[in-house]
Point group: C2
Chain length 106, copies 2
DNA sequence: TGAATATATGAACAATTGCTCATATATGGA
DNA sequence: TCCATATATGAGCAATTGTTCATATATTCA
């Protein structure tokens, strides 16, 4: 077996947890509802009912997905009056989305 | 409703198919087996049995995943002797993986 | 405080997914 | 041509996922 290749194997095997983490991250972007939500938040912070209305997704479905996004630290919240405003946790999220967009429209 | 926000809504609604495509792309990166395979191929072209051995994944499982990767045009193949050598279809794939890796190790 | 409203949550269900096991296919080389 | 080997494929199954429906929770504001 080629030496450099066996080094790769080692790297991948040893970092098995890293691959879980990264694939879990991609998994979150791998649902169109979540992707749309994230993309919407890329342009403007929004409350749950706004997101729901804009994307024509049930309020419940949006809430469920937002919980996943929040648990994964991709979005954060703040209260304004009666509403909970969701926003992206950081700008790198947009980078990831753009990265995928670019690949699709090659 | 704010005008700029309604513009976003239009953009997302009209490009519903785009979001399906992009989320389908991320979905592929969203499985650790596939991610490992892609990552391995980032470093070196490999045949099926090599991938299988390196990642300690069944030959069958690898084959199944490779078919998905090939159908999605993420990998391409060439025959060398008895083996089918798999390689990345393009270098942008590495960019996407790196993008995810970076986010995880923030 | 009480009603109205916004958001969250839980159970249930259908659909999808990734694996295994068995086996088919196809190619190279003797 | 025939065998050995490499890869692909199909069925079946358990696990996971995303949605809906019903309802709980919580906060604002009159």
């Amino acid at each position: 077996m080629d030496n450099s290749i066996s080094r790769i194997q080692g790297a991948i095997t040893r970092n098995s947890e890293l691959f879980e983490e990264v694939s879990d991250l991609f998994k979150i972007f791998g649902d169109s509802s979540r992707l749309k939500i994230l993309c919407a938040l890329t342009q403007s912070d929004m409350c749950v009912s706004e997101i729901s209305e804009f994307l024509s997704i049930t309020q419940s479905a949006v809430s469920h997905q937002l919980r996943i996004l929040k648990t994964s630290n991709l979005v954060k919240t703040r209260r304004v009056g009666k509403n909970i405003i969701y926003s992206l946790a950081d700008q790198h999220i947009k980078t990831i989305i753009d990265c995928g967009m670019e690949h699709v429209s090659e």
